[in-house]
């Protein structure tokens, strides 16, 4: 079986399994009277399936492909995401794509892209504290890197490169704050991930800041990153047609497929950037009261269509 068909078959199987699982979750939530938006669930399922496919290394043997998919399925982040709901699954899926990109960078020794990613990750919380959630995710990645062939010490070093900027900025900032006599109470714990519609984490906000910064730094550093800008506009156009979750799912699918089948790490990062930018734009829009009101109205209409509230006696 060629590598392409191996990926395609296992990816499709994973997508179907994920779709079934989330369909079941959705059905269960319907049966309990709660309303879950079906479209994001579908998008999440497909994104997850292709993502799982994407997580396999490029040079793959069958037993290893199966092991990788097993690892991905057992990933605590995914399990947690599944428990949190479809929106969170999309967020986790996008995060895992970040991880895959990170892993590709680690194995390719693409030091420039690694530095850009680290800087983007460090600056992200300045725009959205939700991005702090990416750091525990990176730590979980350490567990995944070694089975993929990166020696544990090497994996730890690589992650240190990614995490150090935020650690330094945080330490320096807190130190200055302390010197200035400011209170550290608010900094003792990172603020919780903001919850948006129906209690799911705002994955859009989660992804917004790294994308924007990554693209900004990337554009400054390498002309090839201009491609990201083109894809960004395409994503915006797609988002208008497909709406936010659909566009993100599409980006996730494209990125995952690209990473899995063809792309070197840098190209994969371009696609990630595009996805992030799209989600970032949506997140910015999400912050506007008008958008929120419109989104709330849409959700209420959808809920009324799917499960009409019985008239009170």
């Amino acid at each position: 079986m060629s590598r392409f068909w191996l990926h395609a078959a296992t990816g499709a199987a994973a997508a179907l399994a994920a779709f079934a699982a989330f369909g079941l979750v959705s059905a269960l939530t319907f049966s309990h009277g709660d309303v879950a938006p079906l479209a994001p669930a579908l998008a999440a399922a497909f994104a997850l399936g292709f993502l799982v496919s994407a997580m396999a290394p490029r040079e793959l043997r069958l037993w290893r492909a199966v092991a990788m998919r097993g690892l991905a399925a057992l990933n605590p982040a995914l399990v947690a995401a599944a428990l949190l709901g479809p929106g969170a699954v999309l967020a986790a899926a996008a995060s895992l794509i970040v991880w895959r990109g990170v892993f590709a960078l680690a194995t390719d020794n693409d030091y420039r892209a690694t530095i850009l990613l680290a800087l983007a990750l460090a600056a992200a919380p300045l725009l959205s504290v939700s991005a702090l959630a990416l750091y525990p995710a990176l730590l979980i990645l350490a567990l995944l890197l070694s089975p993929w062939g990166l020696a544990p010490r090497r994996a730890a070093g690589f992650l240190a490169v990614l995490i150090t900027p935020l650690a330094l900025i945080s330490t320096g900032g807190l130190f200055l704050l302390w010197l200035a006599g400011g209170s550290l109470d608010g900094w003792a714990l990172a603020p919780p991930v903001p919850r948006a519609h129906h209690g799911t984490p705002s994955f859009l906000a989660l992804l917004a800041a790294p994308g924007l910064l990554l693209a900004a730094v990337g554009l400054a550093a390498n002309l090839r990153f201009w491609k990201a800008a083109l894809i960004f506009f395409a994503s915006i156009a797609g988002m208008i047609v497909l709406t936010g979750p659909g566009a993100i799912a599409l980006t996730a699918v494209v990125a995952a497929g690209h990473i899995a089948w063809a792309a070197p790490a840098r190209s994969a990062l371009l696609l990630l950037t595009a996805g992030f930018l799209a989600s970032g734009a949506l997140a910015l829009a999400e912050l506007s009261p008008a958008f929120r009101a419109a989104a709330a109205g849409l959700f209420e209409q959808a809920a009324a269509r799917i499960a009409p509230v019985p008239a009170s006696p």
């Binding site: 680690a106 020794n109 030091y111 420039r112 690694t114 530095i115 680290a118 020696a151 010490r153 090497r154 730890a156 070093g157 690589f158 240190a160 490169v161 150090t164 900027p165 330094l168 900025i169 330490t171 320096g172 130190f175 200055l176 010197l179 550093a221 390498n222």
Partner: protein, 497 residues
């Protein structure tokens, strides 16, 4: 009667011994006295220094607080500029394409003759590894002119060289005893005897990449005549041995893989490393060779050739060395380097206007921020840390009065951002080499800086007490180096050497 070449050369050396010694010691001093570190300070420098000291003393007597605030502001602005310059260099390096297409290799028939200088002093234990490393060089033997330079009174090294048959494999040149007893003086001696079109120096513990000379020859063949030096990258074969060697390796990675390529791209003067620099021999001779009075003659030469309008390029080839793994030995080595940087700065600042004319404002700024910055930051760091720690512990108003706003904000920003930035530079330094496992050690960089500061004060002391003293670095202290020696001895034994 045909006389073997070596025998003839030895006879020549014996006949012209005094002339060779004189030229190796005094050629540069005579031809370009302003470029020699023979004198520590020129008269205008001494006068300016005295005037500055008197002015500071007068201000200190009249308005001590204002003076301290002014010094504080000056140091802070300098720090910010030095940090900014390194940020600039880092960005430039990140913008460079990862791999530059190498020029096509030259066929053997077109390869130039290369003189390899191997200056050794009290290095008997290193010779076996050195022989193996030189044997491993992929270059036609008949186009190599290998000269091992041994001080005349270094009986131990000479005996070991003969025991290993190096007097057969290489030209052994005995350097007559004369002051100053430095590596550049020995190299100048050999430069006059060099037969190669190119000339390269390797230290006793070096292991150059086998194709290094071929790469350099190919690069020189396609370069214009202004390119007269190629500096190979340096790093360590025992990088992962202790915290000190890891940090040393991070520093070298930063220096040779990040900063120097950026300086090259910007056409700014490049302070050379002490080994693995390959020159066009004739151009080097015209420059007057190395300054025997400068204990970082390499850095000085890099700046000198830039002043003459020549260029240095960084060669994409690495020479591995033994990283200093003992703290005392490391401090001694570093103190020599920093003393040499001080000498170099003083020499090139004898004529600041000439420096600006020769290298432009950018070259001049690079000199101040890069060469002087290394020394100045090492000297001033402990003072600033001590003041800061004292203020933190006591919150003394007397200290606080030296830090009025907005100087305080500027100072704190430079302190926090500067330290964070330098730590992160060390974190990312090993990535380019594919050594991410060394990255976490960068968090220990402040301890490394403390050692650098100790070395800087030792260097400052020696600059005035023993300016030409060559603080010898002991080698073969690392278990990895000893293992290499044992392997080399085995190999030589197997070859019947």
């Amino acid at each position: 009667m045909r006389l073997p070449r070596r025998q003839f050369e030895r006879a020549l050396q014996a006949r012209f011994r005094d002339e060779l010694v004189d030229a190796s010691v005094s050629a540069l001093r005579r031809s370009a006295p302003q470029s020699s570190a023979h004198r520590l300070l020129s008269f205008p420098q001494a006068a300016a220094g005295a005037f500055l000291a008197l002015t500071v003393a007068a201000f200190f007597a009249a308005a001590p607080l204002a003076l301290l605030i002014a010094l504080n502001a000056g140091a802070t602005l300098y720090f910010i500029a030095a940090i900014g310059f390194r940020v600039y260099l880092t960005v430039i390096t990140l913008r460079l394409p990862p791999k530059v297409d190498a020029p096509p290799p030259l066929p053997d028939a077109r390869l130039p003759t290369v003189t390899i200088l191997l200056p050794v002093h009290d290095e008997a234990d290193s010779l076996a590894s050195l022989r193996t490393a030189i044997d491993a060089i992929d270059y036609p033997r008949e186009r190599l002119d290998i000269k091992m330079l041994i001080e005349q009174d270094d009986a131990g090294t000479l005996a070991e060289a003969k025991r290993l048959g190096l007097d057969e494999a290489f030209d052994l040149i005995l350097i007559p005893r004369s002051a100053p007893q430095t590596k550049p003086k020995a190299c100048n001696h050999a430069l006059q005897l060099a037969r190669g079109e190119l000339i390269v120096i390797y230290d006793a513990e070096d292991a150059p990449a086998p194709d290094q000379l071929r790469k350099a020859a190919a690069a020189f063949a396609v370069a214009d005549e202004t390119l007269i030096c190629m500096q190979a990258q340096l790093n360590y074969y025992n990088a992962d041995e202790s915290w000190l060697t890891r940090l040393f390796a991070l520093e070298y990675a930063l220096w040779f893989d990040s900063f120097l390529p950026a300086l090259e791209a910007l056409r700014m003067p490049i302070p050379l490393g002490g080994t693995s620099n390959i020159f066009r021999t004739e151009a080097l001779k015209k420059l007057g060779g190395w300054d025997p009075y400068n204990v970082t003659e390499d850095a000085d030469l890099g700046l000198r050739l830039a002043r003459e309008g020549f260029r240095t390029a960084i060669l994409d080839s690495t020479t591995l060395e033994e990283a200093n793994c003992q703290t005392g030995n490391w401090v001694r080595q570093r103190s020599r380097w920093l003393k040499g940087y001080m000498q170099t700065w003083l020499v090139h600042m004898r004529d600041p206007a000439g420096l600006v004319r020769a290298t432009g404002w950018r070259g001049f700024a690079a000199m101040q921020l890069f060469v002087a910055g290394n020394v100045f930051s090492a000297l001033i760091n402990p003072v600033l840390w001590a003041v800061f720690a004292f203020w933190l512990a006591t919150r003394s108003a007397s200290i606080a009065s030296v830090f009025p706003e907005p100087l305080l904000s500027l100072n704190l920003a430079a302190f926090v951002l500067g330290n964070c930035f330098f730590i992160y530079l060390a974190v990312i330094a090993p990535l380019k080499r594919g050594w991410p496992e060394l990255a976490p050690n960068a968090l220990l960089a402040p301890a490394y800086w403390a050692l650098t500061s100790i070395a800087a004060y030792r260097a400052l002391w020696q600059l005035f007490t023993r300016p030409f003293f060559w603080e010898k670095t002991d080698h073969m202290l690392s278990p990895a180096a000893q293992l290499r020696r044992e392997e080399a001895l085995e190999r030589l034994k197997a070859k019947g050497a």
